[in-house]
């Protein structure tokens, strides 16, 4: 059951410049909208699960970009500085808005993102039940084992992981377990006013907007989770924290970007994590239209 949240879409529409919002509302889409992309001096692009189209409402202007950024940051750019540095802002309902601009570098790292002119609203989806058939692959004797979900960007990792959390926490396809959710981008649970926007089950503790390696350590020290779930791992810090959590007896379920086993082994950071042997199951996710295909990977 796909919960293509009307509320989420309305939230996004409330952020869009009025003329683009009305053009979007008047347009007819045969397939669910997945992304709304705005680029300065270009027509807005709407990406659906089966292709894309350009909205006939004229180009997105710089003034509109400035106003949109102010809205996204609740008129306080400094309050979203850390997120902007990483190239996104998360708004209500776990909607991640990717941004592009001109990075300001200091000592080889990005300290600020200025002149933001491109925005990508990724519509968070909740597909209740999409992970139920996979649960036997990530559990042993009813208990979750450390698993890595791998797919290329836009492959449905986050949607699958979200439903896995619900299943683990509710005891669907396994014994109910305490889940620690290290939600660095705030899009897995989409917490608004303290409550998750998505169904993350009754036994899930959420920590948002903090580096996952640190959050994993905090969970292990203070929340005694049975399983820790996190999205898009890949850094050297992540490898250490995940290995440490596994040594402490917590299973780790994570996702990563790669489109094949070969790519997984070639990506530095990710290859290190995999080589530690922490992950007992690795599942490769492929998507055709709105269908998800999952196959186990042998390394």
């Amino acid at each position: 059951m796909e919960k293509y949240s009307e509320k989420t879409l309305n939230t996004i529409i409330s952020y869009l410049p009025k003329r683009i919002a009305s053009a979007f509302e008047n347009a007819v889409f045969a397939h669910p909208v997945e992304e709304i992309r705005l680029r300065c001096a270009r027509q807005p692009q709407i990406v659906t699960s089966c292709g894309d189209m350009l909205l006939e409402c004229g180009a997105f202007t710089r003034e509109e970009a400035g106003e949109l950024l102010a809205k996204l940051c609740r008129r306080s750019v400094y309050s979203r500085e850390e997120e902007l540095k990483r190239g996104f802002v998360t708004i209500e309902g776990g909607v991640r808005v990717g941004v592009c601009g001109r990075p300001v570098m200091e000592d080889g790292s990005i300290v600020r993102l200025t002149d933001i002119t491109c925005f990508n609203f990724r519509i968070a989806r909740e597909v209740i039940g999409c992970a139920e058939s996979i649960m036997p692959q990530i559990t042993e004797h009813g208990k979750p084992v450390s698993s890595l979900i791998v797919s290329p960007p836009g492959g449905g990792k986050t949607t699958l992981l979200r439903d896995m959390i619900r299943c683990l926490s509710s005891g669907i396809g396994c014994m109910p377990v305490k889940v620690g959710l290290a939600d660095e981008r705030g899009e897995l649970a989409g917490v608004v006013d303290g409550a998750p926007s998505f169904d993350t089950g009754p036994r899930t503790d959420v920590m948002e907007f903090a580096p996952k390696a640190e959050v994993i350590n905090m969970f292990v020290r203070t929340m005694s989770p049975d399983v820790i779930v996190t999205d898009e791992i890949g850094g050297a810090d992540d490898a250490e924290a995940i290995a440490d959590a596994a040594r402490c007896g917590a299973a780790v379920i994570a996702s990563a970007h790669a489109s094949s086993a070969r790519e997984l082994n070639e990506r530095s950071g990710l290859a290190e994590i995999v080589s530690t042997g922490v992950f007992r199951r690795i599942l490769l996710l492929r998507r055709t239209g709105s269908m998800l295909h999952i196959c186990p990977v042998k390394l």
Partner: protein, 165 residues
Amino acid sequence: MSAARLTAAAAAFAVCAVFGAVRSARQNVLLESMDDLITDVRYAASIIELEHLPVGEMAKRLAFSGKCRTLWKETTESMRRGSTFEKAFESASKPPLCPEAVRVTEKLASFLGSGDVKTEVTRLLSAAERLSEIRAIKETELAQKAKLVRVLSVMLGTAFALLII
């Protein structure tokens, strides 16, 4: 010279002297308001530096534990109704301030929220410093004015007393 005249002269003198003293004391209200505002601007800088709270949340915090609570309460209420921070701050009733101080704070409000943490903190602390400078100038001016008011009221009181006598 009757006792009644003497009493009336003394009363006239006392009234003028007290009037002068009250007027000069009242001028301290402006300095106190400026002190409160400077404290709040510095507090806002620390809220932004340490907690990165958006301007709306910052105003709420100041309305709860700042010094110029009425100003921040009104700002918060306007923002709840949909105003931007700049407009909300502009329309909120300010404590008694000199026009220069009002200009500094309104200019600050018009920029607040557009920069990164470092910029905002620098901006707020510079504004606090500028307000402190304005306050120091005002303090000197007001001290001179207060002295003048006191002297004039005593002289006026003496003149009235002499007329009555």
